[in-house]
Symmetry: C2
Subunit: 658 residues, 2 copies
């Protein structure tokens, strides 16, 4: 043991010398008290050659003042990373400005490639490659994890996933690059400036999924500005004419279709530039939480846990579905309580007519907004638990079921009261007031709960940490050990789900009742501007660096936003039809009014679908580039063919004019 | 010249000996009086080796009693066909029952493959390969077609297409296989039997596009049977209760969604078995009619005619669009004349009240149905001319623009009068009568014009031909020369467009007003049963054999049918809402009625979209098989990687526990 520590310290000092080309990229934290043989076996497997079934990476223990702490740093040689880039199918830019899948043999044709240029792959890409290699480190003939007989293995099982589920591996996370981070955060939110976010830098540092979220947030904010600009005079001049509201709503409906279609094109441009548009989808392994009895996977032919699809369907339809319905019912019940409260406040105000009582008018709405937020959050945990219990084999299928559950509940929870006010109570004034209260309260709550609170907690923790370490150094001067120790205590960023959900609900507030409250777009724009800053702060300062995740689109959220925009056509048409001014246009026959509204609604929906069909999802330029790549690969295939000899074809030929 | 004819006759006699393995597959007919040097150059290019830029096929002149007639037979050696199958990316079944892309090097792994088994590729596949090779025979350095200075060539131009457009090449068509055809037609329509069509045999003989049409026709007929069965009692018992009609319409709407979704799955099963589901799309060359100034194609980098996209857009929006609108207006004008006629007939009947006058009641409808058919056919030529004048670069884009033009006009032409009767005149009795007349007249006209007339003409021609040849032989005993001469005079099958269009309009008659005329489904079923027979007859006896065309789906028609089913939800909901019985349910408020109808309509549409979303487009089994293939190719890629050595990785490694 003494010898071991000595060797470790030796290795550690070696790491600190500038000659060493070991660059720590990823941190592995093992549980305290992990057995010696387990560590030895695990690290051996990481270091082993690829041909022997290892990951062929480099690993070093981290030694702090307190000695060895079961924290390991993982890196890889430059060559290993290049071969890994080929395995994960990274797409990079070539010297002729086209995007191509990187292969080691064609490396010379890529822009900025040089054998000694270690910046060819960004740090986020290197970390993604290492994560991929670690996750694909598979058991050979081991039946158990050495030292832990209860942690079963079978040939082909991902070792890291088993270590994680059995609690031996506490976490794996990529290291921040303090210098890059400082540059990025300065460009991003560090200075007061008007301009676009540095999306390419964000992508280099955090990967495509997060960069695409910020790209969408920025795009969406810009897209809302015309609505906000048109909405302001309604407030300033207190316009109450319904014809003006009709114009605003019509503009809003067509505009929301256009922005969603144009986003697809923007997204294609961004992801083409980043290479993810061309990246081939990797085969999906079972998600970490998936369990079942050992069987044969019909696709891979490998031994792995299998779980009957019928059992899963039963769990979904007999447990999850009723539970969701129950929650929806409960949410409606709470809504009815809110209306009782509202009525009580109104009565109270009528009786007392004081300043206090007029303030009381807003209390039910604020309470309800807070309760909605709380219910959304509790339901979120329940939905996560249920979806995990449904035991989906794939992460993507898990995500889809989770998103569906959460979306339905959030939609009802946030908008049911507004629908009730609009289409049952027919109270437009109350609708406007509730809309404003709900929108503003939820925005304030979100900003606080999402970014400011964790930032404050983190800051306090850091201050305490530094005090304990008795160092007055700034972040930049921290030693590697101090940096790792600080980062491992930071919160984990759980993905873009909550951020997109917030935008989705905001889109609902802006578009569903846009003809009643044009000012919603103004609040949304203001919120989104601060949201960009607070989200950026959150990514850079509050959370551990997340692993980069390549993606080619915002996925199911595109569908969710489009569905919302279809629903908003229906709601806006009904609201306009119900307005007294439109009513007055049809003095004789209410029938004609309703029929006209229905006709207009169907026309608008038809226009929406035709527009969505006619506007191409990818700009012509990108289409051309993709076609060119496809053509080249077909040509290459044909060229291969020509080189195949046709033996004896000359003799067999009956050609006449030869 | 004398020597040449002698050589030809020699070669011809050689062809007739059973030792020869030259099997004539495709016929090329050159124009009478084509210059000697052109023929020599063209046949040399066909025979030349692939490496020299030729097609490496076999070609023989056809010699009849009248001497050489500029007709040539093209064939290929077995080996050449196998290599061609690899070029076109044919997918065949392996010995382990999986479908894989055929490659010559892996030929041994395919089912039924043997070096001497010349039936491994079906005749239709061989002919498709030869067509592909001929079309891809490209000019090298020739600036013109030898002998025809006006027929310009440039490097990479398809020679066959230039020969076709300059009229030197009259036609290329595949030969019938009399024996196979007899077997197929016996199984298909030759005997009276109840059962499925031999789709696999049809596919082997005519290719996937045509087999898929007959598959769809059969599937659609079976799918209509439940509607027809439910519809019969309405006629038999003269049910006039509206609640029964409501039930029928509701069933109809959900049923039509289900059948369209299930067809996608059926289609996936069929095309997986036929291998086309897995076939990669080939790069599309410009369509034969495309013209423009020589330029560089940005995708291929090759010199070829280019035509400005802006010019095309101008032609589409400034000429085609106004023309289509004009035609639509004209069609509506004709419709109004029809209603005047109808009114006149009604007045006449009221005045005279005779048998003749009651017969006269049907005359306007029949005249209108005939006029509609005639207008549809004239418009079809205009649409073809206009779309061709729009100068689309790709055949697929040409087809899409043509289909859109024709669909819109046919839809309006066929259904405008029904919409007018239903939603302007509110005359349900007239609607039912018009629907019946239109449906039955158009079906009779179609069957006559499409199959029976050409069949009769063809038969008369054949009889005359035989008389001229003074032979009393049956079809089976014809010599090759006689067969070719007869087939070259047969009509050319122009694709499945008209057949699908007919089904599309039929689907409209059945579903748009299904709650008014439940018997429509019965007529549709009866028509489709005879349609299968007459279409089969048409394919086997009337037309030249068409080239096989691989396809994975019915393409844009799926979308067309789905759109029709969405429209039919709207029309049926309105019809039901307008019925007096439903009216009676809301005695107090017409508003409530309209709102209820609108609500039900939106619910039905929502259910439709959710159903379309939830039902997977491919059955689980096919999904698994596709996933397995994808997994295998990914694994193969990885395996390739492991074999790459990591030079010096051992030395560079800082692994601690090694």
């Amino acid at each position: 043991m003494a010898e071991k520590t000595k060797m470790m310290v030796e290795s550690w000092s070696f790491l600190d010398t500038p000659e060493s080309n070991f660059r720590p990229l990823v941190v592995i934290e093992l549980a305290k008290g992990t057995k010696e043989e387990t560590i030895e076996w695990f690290t051996k497997r990481i270091v082993d050659k690829k041909a022997d079934g290892g990951a062929q990476l480099l690993i070093k223990p981290l030694v702090t003042e307190n000695g060895v702490e079961n924290i390991y740093l993982v890196g890889a040689s430059h060559l290993r990373l290049l071969l890994g880039a080929e395995t994960v199918g990274l797409v990079k830019e070539c010297t002729d400005n086209s995007m191509r899948t990187f292969t080691y043999s064609s490396r010379k044709t890529f822009k900025h490639f040089a054998d000694d240029n270690h910046d060819f792959l960004t740090m986020a890409e290197c970390q993604y490659i290492i994560k991929h290699e670690l996750e694909n480190l598979r058991a050979k003939n081991e039946k158990i994890i050495p030292g832990y007989p209860q942690a079963k293995l079978y040939p082909g099982k991902s070792i890291v996933r088993r270590l994680l589920t059995s609690g031996i591996l506490v976490q794996i996370f990529p290291l921040h690059d303090r210098e890059e981070l400082k540059k990025l955060s300065h460009n991003w939110y560090g200075r007061v400036k008007v301009g676009y976010q540095p999306l390419d830098d964000i992508r280099c540092y955090f990967g495509e999924t997060i960069a695409l979220y910020f790209g969408f947030l920025e795009y969406f904010t810009f897209a809302l500005i015309p609505m906000a600009v048109i909405g302001i005079p309604y407030y300033v001049f207190a316009w109450e004419d319904y014809d003006k509201y009709v114009m605003f709503a019509t503009f809003n409906l067509l505009w929301s279709t256009v922005i969603l279609e144009v986003w697809k094109r923007m997204c294609a441009i961004l992801t083409y530039r980043w290479g993810t548009l061309l990246m081939k989808r990797q085969f999906e392994e079972p998600r970490p939480g998936f369990h079942g009895v050992l069987g044969i996977n019909p696709v891979t032919g490998r031994e792995e846990p299998v779980y009957s699809s019928i059992k899963r369907q039963l769990r979904i339809y007999l447990v999850s579905l009723p539970f969701v319905c129950l929650c929806l019912y409960f949410s409606l019940y709470v809504m009815m309580i809110y209306f009782d409260l509202e009525q009580w406040a109104l009565d109270y105000h009528k009786e007392n007519e004081s300043n206090f009582s007029s303030l009381m008018l807003y209390v039910p709405s604020i309470i309800y907004a807070v309760v909605i937020e709380i219910m959304n959050r509790i339901y979120r945990y329940a939905a996560e638990f249920l979806t995990s219990w449904e035991n989906h084999r794939l992460e993507s299928s898990y995500q889809n079921h989770l998103i569906l559950k959460v979306l339905v509940f959030n939609f009802l929870n946030c908008f049911a009261s507004l629908f009730y006010i609009a289409f049952v109570l027919f109270d437009m004034k109350l609708l406007r007031q509730s809309l404003a209260t709900l929108l503003i309260t939820s925005q304030i709550l979100n900003q606080f709960a999402e970014s400011l609170l964790p930032y404050w907690l983190q800051k306090r923790y850091n201050r305490r940490m530094k005090k304990r370490m008795c160092s007055k150094k700034t972040d930049m001067d921290l030693s590697l050990a101090e940096q790792v120790n600080m980062e491992k205590e930071m919160g984990t960023y759980l993905g873009t789900f909550d951020d997109y959900l917030e935008l989705f609900l905001q889109f609902g507030y802006v578009s569903l009742f846009s003809c009643v409250y044009p000012l919603a777009a103004v609040f949304a724009v203001l919120n989104n501007i601060t949201e960009i800053y607070s989200d950026a702060l959150k990514m850079c300062r509050v959370y551990k660096r997340p692993f980069a995740e390549p993606t080619a689109s915002i996925g199911v959220w595109q569908l969710a936003f489009e569905t919302m925009s279809v629903i908003s056509v229906v709601t806006n048409c009904i609201l306009i039809g119900m307005s007294p001014e439109v009513d007055a246009l049809f003095p004789d026959s209410k029938m004609d009014l309703v029929l006209t509204v229905a006709l207009v609604e169907h026309l608008l929906l038809a226009i929406k679908f035709i527009m969505a069909f006619v506007i191409p999802d990818k700009p012509r330029e990108i289409q051309m580039k993709l076609a060119k790549l496809e053509f080249e690969s077909l040509e290459a295939l044909k060229q291969q063919q020509v080189n195949v000899k046709l033996p004896g074809a000359g003799q067999e030929s009956h050609g006449f004019f030869r």
